[in-house]
């Protein structure tokens, strides 16, 4: 008799795995705050990407769609913040919502016709969107400064006061990330989240249950765009500079890598993926000219041994401790995306 894969309360071993992961993450952040310097910058980038990938996960992981164009929304968030705060002296917290709102409106306008497409066609259409927005950033140089980009963007701050140093900015980014992950988790386990999971499972079956598939896909697209624009805007104020290259195809590739390495469809996968992919190149810095080779090899190893992402490893470990049959069921793809440790 097989042990069924369930979502029953986690055992002691199941609690230990996420506790260890959280403890390791907290230790790393604490060390960065104490040591300061480059690690703060790396963790800052990891937090920004984690927000970006959490949005991407909402559209790809929860809803089962594909988008290669999230960089477009990040660019809109980043450039709106940059232009309004440098050219028009807007405060950061006024510029940021405008950029997010503009990205949401564009997602609504573009998503309505585009989301009729499926699979590769949708991927190509969204890829084109990212390329168009990047080209606008290059060509509209009167506003965007073209390839030169916009520099001297004020750092994060509120009520006329800027955050004094990188540590304070990292704290703000981590708070924003916590909020972003919390919202994503609440949405995933809401009525909306269940409808999106149904769409990811089978669009026809979802339609037959009365779920308005087109509407929910559009909502997921807009939510992902809001996350991307939020990350893009925070990026502008954290780094102090934006240019077309910043929001290029590289951002999409990095986002995808983080999503799959961390664990697509899980709440904490984007967080794990962003952290690991941000730290990996630094870890291999000692390899000098072989750094990229080592980085690539590490990615291949991760994807071979954790095809469902690193977040799934902790789950497998807890299942193996609980019952061999349940672990087998999990590897057979019958387990819930964020059950157990990754939940």
């Amino acid at each position: 008799m097989t042990s069924p894969a369930t979502t029953s309360p986690p055992s002691g071993r199941a609690r230990l795995a996420p506790a260890l992961l959280w403890a390791a993450g907290a230790a790393l952040v604490a060390y960065a705050f104490v040591a300061g310097g480059y690690l703060v910058t790396v963790l800052g980038f990891a937090a920004l990407y984690a927000i970006f990938v959490t949005g991407l996960n909402f559209f790809m992981g929860y809803t089962g769609q594909v988008s290669f164009g999230q960089n477009a929304f990040a660019a809109i968030g980043g450039y709106t913040s940059a232009v309004l705060t440098t050219a028009y002296n807007w405060p950061v917290f006024a510029a940021m919502p405008l950029g997010i709102g503009a990205a949401a409106l564009l997602a609504l306008a573009i998503g309505y016709p585009t989301l009729r497409l499926r699979g590769h066609y949708l991927a190509m259409a969204t890829l084109a969107l990212g390329m168009i927005v990047q080209e606008i950033a290059v060509q509209w140089d009167r506003v965007t400064m073209g390839y030169t980009g916009i520099a001297a963007i004020p750092p994060l701050g509120a009520f006329g006061r800027e955050l004094p140093n990188e540590r304070a900015q990292l704290a703000a980014l981590l708070a924003a990330l916590a909020l972003a992950v919390w919202v994503a988790s609440r949405l995933k386990h809401s009525r909306l989240g269940h409808a999106l999971a149904a769409i990811a499972g089978s669009e026809d079956a979802a339609r037959a249950l009365g779920i308005d598939v087109a509407r929910y896909k559009l909502i997921a697209f807009v939510v992902a765009a809001v996350y991307a624009a939020f990350a893009g805007s925070m990026f502008a104020h954290f780094v102090g500079f934006v240019s077309p290259e910043v929001f290029g195809l590289h951002m999409v590739v990095l986002g995808f890598t983080m999503l799959y390495v961390g664990g697509i469809g899980t709440v904490y996968g984007p967080l794990v993926g962003a952290l690991i992919i941000s730290l990996l190149p630094e870890t291999f810095r000692g390899f000098k000219e072989f750094q990229d080779l080592a980085y690539g090899a590490a990615l291949i190893v991760i994807l071979i041994y954790a095809p469902k992402g690193l977040a799934s490893l902790a789950r497998l470990w807890t299942r193996r401790g609980a019952a061999p049959d349940a672990a087998a069921a999990a590897t057979a793809g019958t387990s819930r995306g964020d059950a157990g440790a990754a939940r």
């Binding site: 894969a5 249950l209 019958t334 387990s335």
Partner: protein, 237 residues
């Protein structure tokens, strides 16, 4: 009194291929009617076309009112619910979450929802025991029970079933069809698409025979004494 379901000249196409030629059929109140046919005959397409999941032309009336041809959500809201081929259950979600989604159009989770859930659990006690189990880890028979249970959560007045016995052992298939018989005797109208003709004909009062995208005959169970009788109709098409 208007029939529960009346289909007139309903056709469906996939691109340039007409998978269902203009078809007419009707289903009375509390009736269980089977649609039989070999692989590729257009049985699933017929159900999908009724639901508005596949583009086509023709008229579908439910309880005398015309159903939209391109809005499955509106069709479900009227009380026509499809159990799709291959069950269409959501594997990464729990049994309970699948059932919750069945009642997606029901606002709130009050008494009406609880009553529907109890009805499903009374029909399929195994689902009650496995509420927190992931649907993808259920056996084939249990998955079919879940697919039917989820459809019942939508409180259908007409249930469209696409090959509920597909991939099931004969005993399980008979058990599932027996449950459908009980639902029908309780007054639920059912249009049952099935390849296992003998099983379906035990329950159905009438059957439409489909071959190469056309309804080739309307028969009663006593007209089909053996598989040879079916083959005769199919080959005649």
């Amino acid at each position: 009194m208007a029939p529960v379901l009346s289909v007139e000249g309903l056709s469906a196409r996939y691109g340039s291929v007409e998978a269902l030629h203009p078809a007419d059929l009707a289903l009375g109140h509390g009736e269980l009617v089977a649609v039989l046919g070999p692989n590729g005959a257009g049985k699933s397409t017929l159900l999908r076309a009724i639901m508005g999941l596949t583009p086509g032309s023709g008229r579908v009336r439910f309880e005398g009112t015309e159903l939209p041809r391109d809005d499955p959500r509106a069709v479900t809201m009227r009380g026509v619910v499809l159990v799709p081929e291959g069950r269409g259950i959501f594997g990464p979600m729990t049994v309970r979450e699948n059932l919750d989604l069945g009642a997606y159009l029901l606002p709130g989770r009050g008494g009406e929802f609880a009553a529907r859930l109890e009805q499903v659990f009374a029909l399929f006690p195994r689902l009650k025991d496995r509420q927190s189990q992931l649907a993808g880890s259920l056996s084939g028979g249990e998955q079919q029970m879940l697919a039917i249970g989820r459809a019942l959560m939508a409180a259908p007045r007409l249930l469209l079933l696409d090959e509920p016995s597909l991939g099931l052992a004969p005993r399980l298939a008979a058990e599932i069809l027996e449950t459908l018989g009980r639902l029908n005797r309780a007054g639920l109208a059912i249009l049952l698409v099935e390849q296992r003709a003998p099983l379906a004909l035990k329950l159905a009062r009438r059957a439409y025979l489909l071959a190469v995208g056309r309804i080739v005959a309307e028969v009663t169970p006593d007209q089909i004494a053996s598989p040879h009788d079916l083959a005769r109709y199919y080959f005649a098409a």
